[in-house]
C-alpha cells in the first residue's frame, strides 16, 4: 500500500516539485501522513514549491482536510502552487474549504501544581459539606413524611412495601444463609484451635453464642443487604429520574417520598431484623457443627450451655441495631438515587457511592453502639 503512495521530490525549472500520488482515503491517511512528514523536512526553507496532485487517484473529505492543513502549514514559509487541478479535485477542495476554519486558539491549561492540588482539596471538602447538608435535608423530608404516614396509616403504600420486602428480604435468604454459615464455621474453627490448648473446649459455645448474634450476624447481613438492595435502590431511583418517571409522578400529584422512599425504608426496616435473626440461627448452627466435629461437643451439650451460660441480651443487642442499619442503608440508597443526573454514567457513580457510604456508616454506627453498650454494661 505504501508503494502506491510514493511521493517524490524533484527540482525543475519551476522550482521544487512535490509529486503526490495514490488514494487519499481516510483509512490510508496515516501512511500518507507519515511519509509526508519525512518529506516536509527535506523541503527548502524558503522560496516556492509546486504540489503536483495529478497522481492522486481519489480523495475523500478526510484526505482533503489533511491536504488543506498540509498546504496551510507549507504556506507559512513557502509560496505554494497546486497543479494541475482536475475538476474532481477542485470540487472536493471547495467543498471541504467551506468547512475548515483555522483551528480556534487553544487556551493553555490553567493549573499550577500546588494550586491545582489545593483547588482539588477545596472542591472535595465543599462537596462533602454540601452532600451532608443535602442528606440532612433529605432526612428531614423523610421524617416529615414518616410522621404524616404514622398519623394516617392508611396512606402507607402497602403494595410497594410488600414488593420491596420480598425483593430486599425473601430473595436475600440464600446468600445470607451461605455467608453466615461460612462465618460461623470460620469463627468456630479458629477458636477451637485456641480453646483446645487450654482445655476450655466448652467455651466455644460462649464464643459463638456471643460473637455471632451480637456482632457478626448483624454486620455481615447489613453489608450484604447494602450491596444487594442499597445499590438496587440507587439504580432504580436513578433510572426513574433519568427517564423522568419521578417528574411524571410529581405532576400527577404523587408525593415521591410517600410512593418511592417510604416503602423502601419500611421494607428494609422490616426485612433486616428478620434476616439477622435468620443469620443468627444459621451461624450458631454452623458453630455447633464445627464444635461437634473438632471438639466432640454434642449438640445437646452445646444447646444446654447456650441456654444457661449465654445471656439473651447479646442476641437482643444484635437485633436492636438492625433497624438503625436498615434505615442507614435504605436512606442512603434513596438519597444517592435522587442525586443521579443527566447521563447513564452517573448511575454507576452514585450506585458505587451509595454502597460505599452505606457500608462505612453501618460499620461506624456499629462501632459507636459497641462502645455505648459496653460502657453501659449491657
Amino acid at each position: 500500500m505504501d508503494s502506491e503512495n510514493d511521493f517524490s521530490l524533484s527540482t525543475g525549472p519551476e522550482g521544487t516539485v512535490l509529486r503526490l500520488r495514490g488514494v487519499w482515503r481516510i483509512d490510508r491517511l496515516d501512511a500518507i501522513e507519515r511519509q509526508l512528514s519525512h518529506l516536509e523536512a527535506k523541503l527548502p526553507k524558503h522560496g516556492s514549491v509546486v504540489l503536483d496532485v495529478s497522481g492522486i487517484e481519489r480523495i475523500d473529505t478526510g484526505g482533503m482536510i489533511f491536504f488543506i492543513a498540509f498546504r496551510e502549514r507549507l504556506k507559512k514559509r513557502l509560496r505554494v502552487r497546486v497543479r494541475p487541478l482536475s475538476a474532481d479535485f477542485c470540487r472536493m477542495f471547495r467543498l471541504v474549504k467551506r468547512f475548515s476554519r483555522p483551528l480556534p486558539k487553544r487556551r493553555p491549561p490553567a493549573f499550577a501544581l500546588l494550586g491545582g492540588f489545593l483547588a482539588d482539596v477545596g472542591q472535595a471538602s465543599e462537596r462533602v459539606v454540601r452532600d451532608f447538608l443535602l442528606f440532612l435535608n433529605f432526612l428531614g423530608a423523610v421524617t416529615l413524611t414518616l410522621g404524616r404516614s404514622l398519623l394516617h396509616p392508611a396512606s402507607i403504600r402497602m403494595r410497594e412495601t410488600a414488593s420491596n420486602l420480598y425483593k430486599a428480604g425473601t430473595t436475600a435468604i440464600p446468600i445470607i444463609a451461605l455467608s453466615s454459615f461460612l462465618v460461623g464455621v470460620v469463627i468456630a474453627y479458629q477458636s477451637a484451635v485456641q480453646l483446645q490448648k487450654y482445655g476450655a473446649n466448652i467455651f466455644i459455645v460462649d464464643m459463638i453464642g456471643i460473637s455471632i448474634p451480637r456482632e457478626l450476624a448483624p454486620l455481615i447481613t447489613a453489608i450484604i443487604v447494602a450491596g444487594r438492595s442499597g445499590s438496587a435502590y440507587t439504580a432504580q431511583i436513578g433510572v426513574m429520574k433519568i427517564t423522568e418517571e419521578l417528574d411524571a409522578m410529581k405532576t400527577m400529584g404523587f408525593e415521591i417520598f410517600r410512593f418511592v422512599v417510604l416503602p423502601r425504608i419500611f421494607a428494609m426496616m422490616i426485612a433486616l431484623p428478620l434476616l439477622i435473626f435468620f443469620a443468627d440461627i444459621v451461624g450458631i448452627y454452623a458453630g455447633m457443627l464445627v464444635a461437634k466435629a473438632q471438639l466432640g461437643i454434642n449438640p445437646a451439650q452445646f444447646l444446654d450451655r447456650l441456654q444457661n451460660a449465654v445471656d439473651v441480651r447479646h442476641y437482643l443487642v444484635g437485633l436492636f441495631k438492625a433497624p438503625f442499619f436498615a434505615f442507614i442503608i435504605a436512606a442512603i440508597g434513596c438519597f444517592r438515587g435522587f442525586q443521579v443526573a443527566g447521563d447513564t454514567e452517573s448511575i454507576g457513580r452514585y450506585t458505587t457511592m451509595s454502597v460505599v457510604n452505606a457500608i462505612f456508616l453501618v460499620v461506624a454506627v456499629d462501632a459507636l453502639f459497641s462502645v455505648i453498650f459496653t460502657e453501659l454494661g449491657i
Binding site: 496515516d30 501522513e33 473529505t61 482536510i65 492543513a69 468547512f99 475548515s100 483551528l103
Partner: protein
C-alpha cells in the same frame, strides 16, 4: 435503469418467536439516492434497517450490501464493510462518557494511526459540516439539545467518509424548525458528498422534501416501492391510509397532485 444497486433485499423473512414481522420483503436501493423506509409503527422498518447493517440476521432471504452477501462474509470482510457505511441511531447513541469531539474521533483513534493534530482538524471540519460550532466539541452529550445530539451523531457517522449512510428516524423528537434544518442538512450533504442514504422515517415533511424513492411496508411486505408519484398510484388500502391524512393531503394539493 442503468444505476448500480447498492442494497438488495430479496425475499426477506423475519420472525421473532412465532411473530412474523416480514414475510417476503423485496427492495432495492440504487446508488446516489435517498431511500425511505416507510410504514406504520410496528411494521418492522427499523428491523429491516438493522438487517442491512448486520445488527440482525433475517430468518430467511438474502441481503446484499455494496455487492456483498451479508449472510456469507467473513469477519474481516464484515469489518471492511462496516467501515464503508455510517449509521445514525434514533437517539444518537453518542457515548456518554466521551465529549462530542472524542465521540467523533473515536473511530480515527481506534483504526488509524493519524497524529492528534490531524484528527483534531478532521473532527473540527466534520462538526462544521453538520453545522456545529467547534466549541461544541468539548461538551458532553448530556449537555446538548436534541438537535445537537443528532448533528453530533451524524458527524460521527460521517467521519470515515462513508458512501452509504443509514438514518433511523433522523427528525423524530426534533421541533419543526430543527427538523427542517436537519432535513436541509441531509439534502445538502447528500448533494455535496454524493452519499447514498437509507432512512427510516414517518415524518411527512421528510417524505415530501427529502426522499427520492421509498418502500412502504405493510402487511409484512413491501406494498409499494418507487418515487412518491409511483407510490401514490398504487391502490392499496395502506397507502390510502398513510397518505390520506390531512397533513399529507395539504402537501399533495400544494404540489398539484390530486387526491
Amino acid at each position: 435503469m442503468s444505476r448500480r444497486p447498492v442494497i438488495e433485499m430479496r425475499n426477506i423473512v423475519t420472525r421473532f418467536g412465532d411473530k412474523t414481522v416480514h414475510d417476503g420483503v423485496d427492495l432495492t436501493v440504487y446508488e446516489g439516492e435517498i431511500y425511505g423506509l416507510l410504514g406504520g409503527s410496528g411494521s418492522g422498518k427499523t428491523t429491516l434497517l438493522r438487517e442491512m447493517i448486520m445488527l440482525l440476521r433475517p430468518t430467511a432471504g438474502t441481503v446484499r450490501v455494496l455487492g456483498r452477501d451479508l449472510a456469507r462474509i467473513d469477519t474481516a470482510e464484515a469489518a471492511r464493510l462496516r467501515s464503508r457505511w455510517g449509521v445514525l441511531f434514533q437517539f444518537g447513541a453518542l457515548f456518554t462518557s466521551l465529549t462530542v469531539a472524542e465521540n467523533v474521533a473515536v473511530w480515527l483513534r481506534e483504526y488509524t494511526r493519524l497524529s492528534s493534530a490531524t484528527i483534531e482538524r478532521i473532527v473540527t471540519s466534520k462538526l462544521e459540516m453538520v453545522g456545529l460550532d467547534p466549541d461544541v466539541g468539548s461538551l458532553y452529550p448530556a449537555q446538548l439539545s436534541g438537535g445537537m445530539v443528532k448533528r453530533a451523531a451524524l458527524a460521527r457517522a460521517l467521519v470515515m467518509d462513508p458512501k452509504l449512510l443509514f438514518l433511523d428516524e433522523p427528525t423524530s423528537g426534533l421541533d419543526p424548525v430543527s427538523a427542517e434544518a436537519f432535513d436541509d442538512l441531509i439534502r445538502q450533504l447528500h448533494r455535496l458528498l454524493g452519499l447514498t442514504i437509507v432512512m427510516v422515517t414517518h415524518d411527512i415533511d421528510t417524505i415530501f422534501n427529502v426522499i427520492d424513492r421509498m418502500a412502504v411496508l405493510g402487511d409484512r411486505k413491501v406494498v409499494a416501492e418507487g418515487t412518491l408519484q409511483e407510490v401514490l398510484r398504487t391502490d392499496h388500502p395502506f397507502i390510502r391510509q398513510f397518505f390520506g391524512g390531512e397533513r399529507a393531503k395539504v402537501r399533495l394539493r400544494a404540489r398539484g397532485i390530486k387526491v
